[in-house]
Symmetry: C2
Subunit: 304 residues, 2 copies
Amino acid sequence: MSQAQVAGFRRALIDHGLLGETPIDGVYGFAAGFAEIADALSAVLRRAMADADEHLRFAAVMPRADLERIGYFRNFPQLLGSVHCFCGDEAEHRALLRAHDAAEPWAAALPPSDLVLIPAACYTVYPRLARRGAVPEAGHIVQVEATCFRREPSPDPVRAQNFHMHELVRVGRPEQALAFRDRWLERGQALFRSWGLTAEIQPADDPFFGRAAVVMARSQRDRALKFELVLPVSDDDRPTACASANYHLDNFGRALGLSQADGGVAHSACIGFGIERVVLALFRHHGFASARWPRAVRQALGLD
Amino acid sequence: MSQAQVAGFRRALIDHGLLGETPIDGVYGFAAGFAEIADALSAVLRRAMADADEHLRFAAVMPRADLERIGYFRNFPQLLGSVHCFCGDEAEHRALLRAHDAAEPWAAALPPSDLVLIPAACYTVYPRLARRGAVPEAGHIVQVEATCFRREPSPDPVRAQNFHMHELVRVGRPEQALAFRDRWLERGQALFRSWGLTAEIQPADDPFFGRAAVVMARSQRDRALKFELVLPVSDDDRPTACASANYHLDNFGRALGLSQADGGVAHSACIGFGIERVVLALFRHHGFASARWPRAVRQALGLD
């Protein structure tokens, strides 16, 4: 009974004072006991990724034009959060309020702004690097954190619409990118082990939109581009991807004009950890009272 | 020359590796040296506000219906970030892509979702409390953190579109709310002093939209509802509000049906700190190299 198990896990998180009640699936208020673990985990990941060439943190929005160039609207329109703003005058505001007060739809009149919600932390990085010019011979590694949004409302607490992602991004030659992806899959798995969690490496694909999805996803698997670190969290029968490591070939390089020092198109790879998912995995496997987690786990997370 | 001073401050932050370059005003990538101070400050505020009845952290979105009930679209439509999502089928996606590929506007076709960007951390709290029922006799205090959005693009780094806010919210009887506001204005000022910053308490008003703004703002000042803790940050001639403390009368209580145990309408007050603004104030007053800040400041921030 997976559905009952998911509902029970969510209820337990609320009852233990870790998540707030919410009227909208996948939009949570995290209580102090949850936030404390999220912060500890972020600190551990920052240290694990400390040999990056730079470290950036974003709030929640990024330039719409950057995401357009990346082709996000072609591949994942169903997941996008587009930021629309009112920029009218007083007459337009009066019209808006008349609709609002009559309980008629009014927000449809808001035009799109130059911003969208960040769907993955690493998307903020590639356009930024492309604007700087060619990638150095040794390549470039960026640690990046962001509040991300994906339109996937679900009662399952592992599938939030709004969440935090911690990534390490490698840009450079094909063999640099591929070696990085494979090395970090193992390092990622070892990190989970240090947190007392057994994560399995599984081939995966992205949730492309529409009929093309089948073809795109199969190609991703055939070329062994995407792997996830999965373990049971809310549902014993359907393990949750708590991290994923990807080799993008030269997709971002071509889309954004990101080139190598020698003039070739840059390749890229990344590993990303879903902060809330890892925290939920910790509560699931070690219990809802973090003070009683195994000593080695607490120490690995810097909690003791 | 205020404008040159603001531009110089922004340039210096980028040159010292604290802020990333950005193609959009007010949307920043924060580098590690900046994020480290932001985290230290958040930890200090969490401890300073630790006697709250509960502590919640939100990502970046909240229910649209809650913000509607609060009247945000009436008073501050120009600041709103409305989250719109694609929910069409393949045919609609093809139409969207045709417009996209022809460089025609396409995002206007996206309907509003049930989510908006959080404009102030405390707005997440009042509707949540109202859903729970009457406020207990002793009132209720909530510590709340959120990534906030306000549509105010500006080249001045103190005015970001997307930023973090740390608030303490008091709900209860009028005298409880007012006493809380006044006590926290002083505590806030003392906190700034502990960080080596001299913040002045100034009466203030909110940036209401349109012609009604003058009347609303004057009423706010006449009734002494809003005060800010201000100090020079990017511009010597125009001090920046780095925190604000507000008494809302029963505005939220009435709008949301939030009542007292005795049946009366609940009053509320809050104090909010703009995390990035305080961090910028620290860099402005103590220098761009945080390792060389005065020892007492570093200790107060838990950096040593």
